[in-house]
């Protein structure tokens, strides 16, 4: 197994609270890795560290054995680490199509062209439409993103991430807040990427059946620490996980 992403002793503290507590982990290349853990376990914070939204207080992040700890979000995206956001993060006043088209444009490296009219880049629009069809959003292409329903915004996030065509996809709860009818369609999209494309996917999710179905490997975070790591079957049977994760959840609910 070769690791495409690796953290070494990675930690970040906000004031006195250590959100990610010295995690050393390897994300295997072209595999499907899921991260689970109760709310506040540091899953999204770990993503923010990997994608460069936050910089760590300690430790290193390696991408293909290259130290990327100090690189900006922009540079990491260009290297091949794309992410979607748990809290929807789109361009509210642009149309759905324009949102995706920007991502396509970035991927095509048309970044500083300031003299040509945009209509000469028809291929961007076609590519963006294709991606919108993939996430079942093509009928809403002309709507402004702010007017989409929550579940649709999640789909838009997905289309934008796919448009970037990155080797690594970091998916932060892609189905959160979706209606029950919408979820299977998105799971299908993710499944298709897993089966048909050579990508490394890292997924944060709460839906256990979805994780068991898709993952090659599961990481369990608990209070910012890496509690366990293994195949879905191993994790299910792991007693520490059972007591800590489930017990922790029950504690939280009782408190």
């Amino acid at each position: 197994m070769t690791a495409i992403l690796e953290t070494k002793d990675l930690a970040i503290a906000f004031g006195g609270h250590t959100a990610v507590d010295h995690i050393s982990v390897q994300i295997p290349e072209k595999k499907f890795t899921s991260i689970i853990g109760p709310n506040g376990a540091g899953k999204t914070t770990l993503f923010n560290l990997l994608s460069g939204q936050l910089s760590p207080t300690n430790g290193q992040i390696l991408y293909k054995d290259q130290d990327i700890t100090k690189l900006s979000t922009t540079k990491r995206t260009r290297l091949g680490i794309g992410r979607s956001f748990q809290i929807t993060n789109v361009f509210p006043n642009l149309t759905v199509l324009e949102n995706v088209r920007l991502a396509v444009q970035s991927q095509a490296k048309v970044r500083y062209q300031m003299l040509a009219h945009f209509k000469y880049y028809k291929q961007f629009e076609a590519k963006a439409m294709e991606l919108l069809e993939r996430v079942f959003l093509d009928a809403k292409a002309e709507l402004r993103a702010v007017n989409l329903a929550h579940g649709e915004k999640r789909k838009l996030e997905m289309a934008m991430l796919l448009a970037l065509d990155t080797e690594v996809l970091l998916l932060d709860e892609p189905t959160a807040g979706m209606s029950l009818e919408e979820v299977p369609a998105i799971i299908e999209v993710i499944k298709k990427i897993k089966e048909e494309e050579d990508r490394t996917i890292v997924l944060i999710e709460h839906k256990i059946d979805m994780i068991m179905d898709l993952s090659d490997e599961v990481l369990v975070l608990f209070h910012g620490e890496l509690l366990a790591k293994g195949t879905p079957e191993e994790i299910i049977e792991n007693e520490t996980v059972q007591s800590a994760y489930l017990g922790g959840m029950y504690d939280e609910q009782l408190a």
């Binding site: 979000t73 361009f91 088209r101 991502a103 040509a116 945009f118 702010v146």
Partner: protein
């Protein structure tokens, strides 16, 4: 060239520009021509301001500095040399280079931070230039300013009018293309969501510096035209009022559009002129800026898209579509 690909709005703008070309043959009054020229000049200036405010979402409180840099550069170069076309060209060149350097430095220093740092730095720099213009009397003539001679052919107000109009048309269509380019789309993305633009792989700082330099250079060119139309310069070109005028024109006309600042420039300039004439009726009209303050507040509350923005959204129907066709 295939004309079918040209948008309908382009034809409307071209028709309007052609109409403006025959204005000097209709109005022979010198003051009327001068008024319209001022509208063109401040229109160019306000468009450059809207590149920052409306398209990219950068707030500048010192945009007058570039206007003043352009005005003083041209005036000083023309004053020190004989009044030929060559020295005018040199003046324009000096104006553009200084404006480019200053806007580049201001951009590099502050645009990686949150937007209000740019606002503060430009405000401070504009104040600095104002003081320099007042104190460096050997070069600038201090607070009293100085007059200078223009090349022979520019002394005719008809010629000057044409030069201003051609500049306006060139900048308008140039900027229109610029804002519709792939880079222009990224600018709008930065305004909408800077964070996300970054995570799509765009180097946000580069874009902000590029637009800051372009806006600075265009503003300096407007300053050159301004000083040519007056044949006189004093420190008022660096005043905060000049920036506020551009802000007002942009907000009333419509932020995030190019035609908006032009409409705004027309309204503000003409209203200023007519309201000042009403000063005999009541003293309040002497203080026309008070009225503008009220108009400004009302515009922001009830008319946030401005004139052009409101019309545009009615035509494109985008908003209503979004609300009702969910």
């Amino acid at each position: 060239m295939n004309l079918r690909h040209i948008e309908r709005s382009t034809w409307i703008y071209i028709a309007f520009a052609l109409l403006l070309f025959i204005v000097p043959f209709l109005f022979t009054g010198r003051s009327m021509l001068f008024m319209i020229m001022q509208v063109f000049i401040f229109g160019i200036f306000a468009m450059s301001y809207d590149l920052l405010l409306g398209y990219t979402g950068i707030i500048s409180f010192g945009h007058a500095m570039f206007f003043g840099i352009g005005a003083y550069s041209a005036a000083i170069v023309m004053d020190l040399n004989d009044s030929t076309l060559l020295s005018l060209a040199a003046g324009v060149l000096v104006a553009v280079i200084i404006a480019a350097i200053v806007s580049f430095i201001a951009g590099i220093l502050t645009l990686r931070l949150k937007s209000h740092f740019y606002a503060m730095l430009t405000l401070a720099l504009a104040g600095l230039f104002l003081v320099a213009a007042e104190k460096w009397t050997s070069l600038t003539g201090g607070g009293e300013g100085f007059t200078f001679r223009l090349p022979e052919f520019l002394r005719d107000s008809g010629t000057m009018y044409m030069i201003c109009l051609i500049s306006l048309v060139v900048f308008f269509f140039g900027l229109r293309r610029f804002t519709k380019s792939p880079l222009g789309k990224v600018l709008v993305a930065i305004r909408e969501n800077e964070n996300r633009t970054e995570s799509l792989g765009f180097q946000v700082l580069h874009y902000k510096v590029i637009v800051s330099v372009i806006a600075g250079v265009i503003a300096s060119f407007a300053g050159v035209l301004y000083v040519l139309s007056l044949r006189f310069i004093d420190t008022s070109v660096f005043a905060v009022d000049v920036t506020l005028d551009a802000l007002l024109m942009t907000i009333i006309g419509g932020v995030g559009t190019l035609i908006g600042p032009l409409i705004g420039a027309g309204l503000v300039e003409f209203a200023h002129h007519w309201l000042s004439d009403l000063a005999d009726v009541h003293w309040i009209f002497e203080r026309w800026i008070i009225l503008y303050g009220i108009v400004y507040i009302l515009a922001v509350i009830f008319f946030p898209l401005g004139i052009a923005g409101t019309i545009q959204s009615k035509f494109s129907n985008r908003v209503t579509k979004g609300l009702f066709k969910k």
